[in-house]
Subunit: 282 residues, 2 copies
């Protein structure tokens, strides 16, 4: 369990992967921004089952943060991350420096135009351009056969799936179900920002989505009614609702009636902390 | 010389390349829009020397044409192209259909922001976004070790070099010197549009660049004087000068004095046909 190798340059990472591929090994990849929690560990355990080799990347990607966002204070815990990764049999932690990912003349960006619209893309200008760009770069450096992403970042996963299909990237994309605390709060690196009181109030997001799920189970199919059911609960706990929307689960286009696989997505502020969650319906 | 294999789907092309790579073969790739002329044949011959396997792609890429450009009438000659490719020992011609490159939900585009500005990028909105996107797609399908591009499309080559570096694409990019007719006209698929009289007038573009080259050889280093020397000659032949500019050869940024490797780039209309050419200086 303690054979975790830390690689810090793209060239060394590429060389490791080429050698593993030449040996016929299947590489499963979990890209992260670090501050690993039980959700990330579940992704790594899943990767362990799927690949001969498991690669984790830890990179707080500056191009996906807006100027007023929490890049500088984003939680970092490399020693803790490496211990957690090692405990589930991760082979490599790729931990590049910003200067090695973005040189001073860097200027290439990938836009996944439609799926990036609205929801988090509407609130965080350029966010999904930064996400798509860094994921493409990481795929080209790590050269995985499969990559595993959490479904909590549902729109991010949709953006990546679409980019991979559109750009013919030779990587299988696997979505992993949301991992939750015992009381239902979706695991997030940003949960460490929450005071104990805010932590309790944050539960309202999951409870609101669950309320919509109950209305759906009881036969409700109108978007407006399902969103209303969620909104009532969420509003009671959080300081500000950023969005609660029902969308087509594949295209992420808005729908008026739940007549196909759908997902309800929510984002809300508790204190200064912005949290997201979602629930598949249909 | 007659073992040219035509492959039409991305999946079959990917499978061919995976098999070639598994055998340890080095793949050299020449992406084209077809209508092959002696310039393309020179690229294929170069590829033949560099690779165990040579792949040519023929794809008139709709996303790099503007709405008022010549997509519909762009010259096509598949039989002639295959004969020329076969004559220089090309192994595979990848000839995908538009529907297999861009499905109805297609939405991912790559912007190489700075190098795409001005010159042809200023005149042809979205052109280099389309170029970068399709080249990235082709690289992911064909999986070449090296790809060869003509230097006539100098800005295109700069865009591709920058994209490959920025996105960590595992492909070596090789620029091939401009191939010219005996009288100096740069080879282009669009030369077939020219009437005999226009063909003669089109020579003025190369002659203008050559005049600037003579001034440079005589010691002139001021951009304004070098451009003026070219402009006088070019104007005398063509119907409309689109641009004549002196730029840094790597960044393509404008320069006031020729104090580093530079390139003079020209675009002009002869009749309705837009032609480009360039000359390295310094």
């Amino acid at each position: 369990m303690s054979n975790l190798q830390v690689i810090s340059t793209p060239a060394a990472m590429r060389a490791w992967s080429e050698a593993a591929r030449a040996r016929g090994e299947h590489i499963a990849f979990v890209p992260t921004m670090g501050a690993l929690h039980a959700g990330h560990v579940a992704l790594l355990s899943d990767a362990r089952k799927r690949g001969d080799r498991v690669v984790l990347s830890i990179f707080v990607n500056p191009t996906q943060f807006g100027p007023s966002e929490d890049l500088a204070r984003y939680p970092r815990d490399l020693a803790g991350d490496l211990a957690k990764a090692s405990s589930v049999g991760t082979d490599v932690a790729f931990v590049p420096e910003v200067k090695d990912m973005y040189d001073p003349g860097y200027q290439t960006f990938i836009d996944v135009r439609d799926v990036s619209q609205g929801l988090c893309g509407g609130r965080r200008a350029g966010h999904f351009t930064g996400v798509a760009t860094v994921v493409c770069k990481l795929f080209n450096i790590v050269r995985p056969h499969a990559a595993i992403f959490g479904e909590k970042d549902f729109q991010q996963l949709a953006v990546i799936r679409r980019m991979v299909a559109d750009l013919n990237l030779p990587v299988e994309i696997i979505g992993h179900p949301i991992v939750r605390e015992a009381d239902g709060l979706a695991m997030s690196s940003r949960n460490v920002y929450l005071s104990p009181a805010d932590r309790t109030r944050a539960l309202a997001i999951h409870q609101g989505l669950a309320a919509a799920g109950e209305r759906f189970a009881a036969g409700e199919r109108r978007t407006v009614a399902l969103v209303e059911a969620a909104l009532a609960k969420v509003k009671a706990g959080v300081d500000r609702v950023d969005y609660i929307e029902l969308r087509d689960a594949d295209s992420l286009r808005p729908i008026e009636r739940l007549d196909r696989p759908a997902v309800m997505l929510a984002a809300a502020f508790v204190g200064a902390t912005r949290l997201i969650d979602n629930l598949r319906l249909g």
